[in-house]
Subunit: 862 residues, 2 copies
């Protein structure tokens, strides 16, 4: 038979997963000799077993047995009418879910024992206050009684006594309150408040199990990606009391400042009080330093314990403690949630102090959290009302006046901070997008034009904000129920999708020395190279600043937009024959060449992968209602039922080879020009998109080689995106014509899963995530067992045909820490992501390398 219960002082066959975070902390502290109230943990196994039925057989007997041990060690008996043993029942899952589940204190009191406790402590007020608290908590948690019922009795009594303070109530008042609470309990449940201590305990444990399924816990798990099926452990702990007198108190403290990472005292203390009093806000806690004069011995012991705990856990600890009659008890310790800046500072300091190694420091930091440091954020201390919610399309916060078109944005953007607000953006809006501090759109998902461009530029963006409507004639917007005029101020948070009317204080980005230090350590450790996706010399330069080691994806399509170019591109598309197309392409060539020269110079010495034209041609034509008759006919001709799966990528290149010929020519001429100018040959990689058949690449490579040979003897690699399932399956054949593969996991996810990202996000995928059909969004975190397995097949088959094949990834997953780890394990050579995510990817790559060596990654604040 399984063992479901472990005392804090006995070894258990599992850690956090079995005992929960709180339980494992209490057990470890007990075993370290740190003062902790005695108690035991009911494992998560029991919770899981109880999920769809009764508590597992044997559990009650085990609880009884451990309770007996507790009675023995404390010298008190549970339910004793004279000097009862009191316990708390506290939830504690493997992953911290603060405040989401239930706790009941003071179990073991009843009508008789409360008076025994009064006698034993000589404190009737304390004993009765403890009992009435039990009745309330038990009633709420076990029987689901509305807490207001109890609070109203308390308020009535205080009104009768003419006071507003609980502390003004006497022991007799509390006896009256207990009677009132018991009446409430009886009215609501039809039963008397249970007098049997064991029944109280049994039902309390069951209630804590059940609290795993309460709505707020479910919502929290969904929001934090915590699985539904792991369940919670339950800790039964002997009560200690910080409210017995002046030699008592309670507090919380951190071993370092969780905001900055600075060493020093950081915490709060409340004399003669219990933890709930702090939470209830009845009395204002003092700084931790105040404890020194009140309880000097306990204070010294606390400092010593803090030091020992940090040395033991080698991480910032978040500690709860109580002092009962001068004796210190630790109630909880856990790794502290901290800001990214604090995490970095603490890590660097601990390495300096020899407390942890560099590898440990690297492993400790949550790469996703680093985003905080790379974009302005809403001040965490600010309070504001969220007016509307959209998609978190590009991280960072921005505050400014709203404008409704790109020209106005460009104009006003020179004088003040503007937020560009549009139904959706188009390539024509680009000058306004560049000028804006933030972008807000009504339509469009995570891959909409606005979202993609904004992420590339590092501009905060909220997209798909359907609660917003615009009246462009009147130049007004309606957000939720508020009407705004052009020039009114709003704030957006692209990290959460929030839109706020009015200004909110922002915290500027901080790339500090600690950050650089940790990244430098990470660079020493990682095997994966990190490149950036960048389309312009500016992007390229920024990527380099963030430590990019090349460009993994330079898209060429934006180079066909712009006032000067778009008409020529459209002329090319409208041409009746190849001759006409070539005439237009001849004029585009020098423009493309200039673009490439700028990028090559910005990336001197580092490889640059240029993807040839990918999107379907109709994307370059205006909306039908703005087009000429002739253009409308062409638009109709080019229209597709499923453009994602239509005439794009290499299919365009094969059908209109003159387009790719022009692009290859522009690339090699640019490379030559830069080489002549600077003396250094750019490292050019020419990439053909959307290849599914080896024959496609064979022909395009032939085209590439032929054009390059016509021009000059620049060196280059020729390769392909792997973004179709068939390309993965036949990677062996394709590899014969490729120097490199770059996994385009955005499109590969779309095709392998049959998910159109535009149609999935905000629609069925949102439903899937909400209903937990899927645990994570496969466009954010690589679907490792599906898409990832296709990649694995592609890597195996590609390398089997060509061992020297260079492998990378340029989908957005290249900037997702978990996906970076997967790419490391897969044996890729590099990941490529947006410039702003390069530091994250560097850290994630180092963590993956450490994990491979057997180091375990301990999530900060977990």
């Amino acid at each position: 038979m399984a063992t479901y219960v472990y005392s804090f002082d006995e070894p258990a066959p599992g850690g956090r997963e079995l005992l929960g975070g709180k339980g494992v902390g209490l057990a470890e502290m007990t075993q370290l000799g740190i003062p902790v109230p005695a108690g035991f943990t009911i494992t998560t196994d029991a919770s899981r077993a109880a999920m769809s039925g009764p508590v597992p057989e044997g559990l009650d007997a085990e609880v009884d047995e451990h309770l007996a041990r507790l009675e023995q060690s404390s010298g008190k008996r549970f339910g004793d009418p004279d000097d009862p043993l009191l316990v708390s029942v506290r939830s504690g899952a493997a992953v911290s879910m603060p405040g989401m589940m239930d706790t009941i204190l003071n179990l073991g009191l009843n009508d008789v024992a409360v008076e025994g406790l009064a006698r034993a402590t000589g404190n009737a007020r304390f004993a009765r206050d403890s009992y009435r608290r039990l009745i309330q908590m038990y009633g709420e948690v076990v029987d689901g009684i509305d807490g207001h019922r109890f609070e109203r009795s308390l308020a009535d009594l205080k009104a009768k006594r003419g006071t507003s303070q609980d502390t003004d109530l006497t022991a007799d008042d509390l006896a009256e309150l207990i009677e009132s609470y018991k009446r409430t309990y009886r009215d609501e449940t039809g039963d008397e408040f249970p007098q049997d201590a064991r029944e109280q305990l049994r039902r309390a444990v069951r209630a804590v199990f059940d609290s795993w399924e309460n709505p707020r816990a479910q919502v929290y798990r969904r929001a934090h990606g915590i699985p539904d099926d792991i369940g919670t452990a339950v800790n039964v702990v002997q009560m200690v009391f910080g409210n017995k007198g002046d030699d008592c108190g309670t507090g919380v403290c951190f071993t370092r400042d969780p905001s900055t990472g600075e060493q020093g005292l950081y915490g709060e203390f409340l004399a003669n009080a219990q933890g709930e009093d702090v939470v209830a806000g009845i009395r204002t806690p003092e700084p931790l330093e105040a404890m020194e004069s009140r309880l000097p011995d306990a204070f010294r012991q606390l400092l010593d314990t803090m030091r020992r705990l940090e040395e033991h856990y080698r991480d910032i600890q978040d500690i709860e403690f109580t002092v009962e009659e001068g004796a210190l008890y630790l109630l909880q310790t856990r790794s502290a949630k901290r800001t990214a800046a604090a995490a970095l500072k603490a890590a660097v300091d601990m390495v300096d102090d020899g407390l942890i190694t560099r590898d440990e420091a690297i492993a400790r930091i949550d790469p996703a959290q680093l985003d905080q440091l790379l974009h302005p954020m809403l001040d965490p201390r600010a309070s504001y009302a969220v007016a509307a919610q959209g998609l978190n399309a590009s991280p960072g916060a921005a505050c400014g006046v709203i404008v409704f078109d790109a020209d106005t944005a460009a104009d006003r953007g020179e004088r003040e901070d503007v937020i560009l607000v549009r139904w959706e953006t188009t390539p024509d809006d680009i000058h306004g997008m560049i000028a804006a501090k933030g972008i807000l759109t009504v339509h469009g998902g995570m891959t909409s034009h606005a979202a993609v461009v904004a992420r590339g530029m590092g501009t905060p963006c909220v997209a798909g904000c359907e609660d917003l409507s615009l009246d462009l004639k009147a130049r007004t917007a309606r957000i939720g129920d508020q009407d705004l005029r052009e020039g009114d101020v709003i704030t957006i948070d692209g990290g959460t999708g929030r839109v706020i009317v009015g200004a909110v204080d922002l915290v500027p980005p901080r790339i500090n020395e600690d950050f650089q230090t940790v990244l430098a350590w990470a660079d020493d450790v990682r095997r994966l190279k990190v490149r950036a996706n960048a389309d312009t010399p500016d992007d390229a330069a920024r990527a380099r600043e963030f430590g990019a080691e090349g460009i993994g994806l330079c898209r060429t399509e934006h180079m066909f937009f712009g006032d000067e170019r778009l008409p020529v591109m459209q002329e090319m598309i409208m041409a009746r024959d190849e001759e006409g197309r070539r005439r237009a392409l001849d004029r585009l060539l020098p423009m493309q060449q200039a673009d490439f020269e700028g990028i090559f110079e910005a990336m001197a010495g580092l490889p640059v992968t240029i993807r040839l034209l990918d999107p379907p041609l109709h994307e370059f034509l205006p909306a039908p209602e703005e087009a000429s008759e002739e253009m409308r006919a062409r638009i109709r001709q080019l229209q597709e039922a499923n453009p994602m799966l239509g005439t794009r990528g290499c299919r365009l290149g094969l059908q209109f080879p003159e387009i790719y010929e022009m692009q290859v020519r522009a690339i090699v001429r640019a490379a030559r020009a830069v080489q002549d100018r600077t003396g250094d040959a750019p490292l050019v990689e020419i990439m053909h998109p959307l290849v599914g058949f080896a024959e496609e690449l064979r022909r395009l490579r032939e085209l590439t080689v032929a054009v390059a040979a016509e021009e000059n003897d620049v060196e280059y690699l020729c390769g392909t995106m792997i973004e179709l399932p068939r390309a993965c399956i036949r990677a062996d054949e394709i590899a014969e014509h490729a120097d490199f593969f770059s996994f385009g996991t955005n499109d590969l996810t779309q095709t392998a899963l049959g998910f159109s990202r535009d149609d999935a996000e905000g629609k069925f995928l949102t439903h899937y995530l909400h209903e937990r059909v899927l645990d994570t969004n496969p466009f954010e975190h690589l679907d490792e067992s599906g898409v990832g397995d296709l990649m694995r097949i592609a890597v195996e088959r590609g390398r089997s045909a060509k061992e020297s094949l260079k492998l990378g990834i340029c989908g957005e997953h290249g900037g997702d820490p978990a996906s970076v780890a997967f790419c490391h394990d897969l044996g890729l050579d590099y990941v490529s992501c947006s410039p702003f995510r390069v530091p994250l990817a560097r850290l994630a790559a180092a963590q993956a390398a450490l994990a491979e060596r057997g180091a375990t990654y301990v999530a900060a604040g977990g």
Copy 2:
């Protein structure tokens, strides 16, 4: 060094691939002792080697050596001025390409030898006629001179002599003609006609090699799916002459009637003539029987040879022969091209005669050809002008008056044959489509509504006929440059995509006894079961007639169309909440149940796989311009960028579980009702579409089981379509929740290749096929190395998780013979295809089983 040349009487290390069809026939006949002119074959290896450069080294020496042998055996010398050896040079690829490549006769003649030949044969007219033919053929083939130049000289000469017959020209006339031809040769090439026999031969061989690349051969190969890189063999054969006198002649014959398969004499004979005379149509040939009285010995020898050849090849032979001075020479034998009916009759007769086994009979028949027997066809003897060309969307020919809307079609269709002509069809047109003999649409590809519905009904359909335009107000159509009014007659051929103005005679379908006999043999041999895709009781009954062993795909979406149902379906889609949807669904339930009852009864005793609702909901709403304001809003809401990858299939079922609940309920109630009525329980298979994640199917299976349990205890299987690459990759996990998999290879091809069929066919895919980027259309023939490999992974992983998993295919590939063979090899349990293709699939499945046992499939008429 490679050997490039083999005499007909020496063994070669390869067959048809090495020697070509003609060469291998000549060699085999020689080795059987059948009289064949002496000669030798230059292999396809030489042709391939010569494709991109000069003829391979050593070839000339080998030709010389074999020529020497020929001189020895014939006792004549090549280029001899007195009695020259003459040879022909004939192409002959591994696959028959009649008339596509070039031939040159009478090589070895020159100004001197022609007179020697005249002396040696005592026939100056014959000798000079042979020489002038050589100059013309050589000029055309080797030097590319326009043949009209020579023909004009001949015509001028005949005019001068006042005759219209070549045969009226004298030997002296022909001498004058030779001079004229030589002048033409000199004028066109700047050179004299070559007098050196070896130079003639060398250049002739080169020219035949090069004729592989001529435009008509390229077009032919593209049309017949023949690879470009196999090249042609070249046969050098000693000339024999059927035009030397009355003891000479030439003819062609078949060993059985290629139209009917009947035994008996079937051929043509022309006395004192050469083969070209027959082709040129100068003289009308006599029936073969006429040869008996003219050349009785040669005739008896021919009959004997025909018998021997048929016994040897055990197939109908198509034979060319010449009689020179009483001696019979066979010039070619090959398996005869024959109609499907003839193929079947001959196969059955040969089995009866003990000439071949049943297995051989099965292996002989081209399943694709059987389509002929299942649909009306254009009379092959009819001549007509093709007015427009569309896609061959559904096979069969139809002739009737054109109508432009479904109501008119339904109305006039009761009295006369109508062809429904539409821009495109919608579900609203269904009654007109049922009433029409044929369907013609301007827009839409192979998966358009018109095409899919027509194929399902077996109605001929030409879709995507862009040369057609309609004026629905004026009720006129314009096809090419012809204006038609409603009621005018047209003919369409859905097998070729042709549209003809006016009536063309049709040949009715013939499912004769021979067909049934061969299919019964096939049923004994095959392992694969064959099911049909059928959505209605009528389809189901038809499928059974064709031998279907169940329904592999019953789509349920059409059941929501129809006057009575569509409004209710739309009400469901427009409902604001689940309650509203359930109200509408409650009304749809009895209708669906009635549909299912009809299908179960039609398929009593056989399994029926029902696919739950698959298409996106917007397909059930009207076009925006015909919708109410409220509906337009909903349409906008449901609109998708890539509907193929959007909210459809199980994604709908999970988001609106009430829809699938209703469908499952209708299915199990129908099964129960049929069981109660007939005493037999239907074999029900409930199929969930578009599953990509095991969790999707787990939940839907749970829903299915729950609803079924609420209803009654009918037995059923619960499974899924495998139509996404991810589903293949994670087939192991999915199999845990599935009783069966059915490969939906249409969608699997779309997603694995990233090809939207609607956007590919007629667009980039057509370009790919034209340019030979792809050899075959992956929607017609399964892409075995890509999609097929994904299927292989799915089969392996699925069966590894659940050995008992039932596996089938229900994509259109289920009716494609090559794909059926692939499914057999993959170890599937069944294929499912449209009812009209069931016989083909039965035969193809048997052929696959035979191939597995090592039997080789000899293509008929190959």
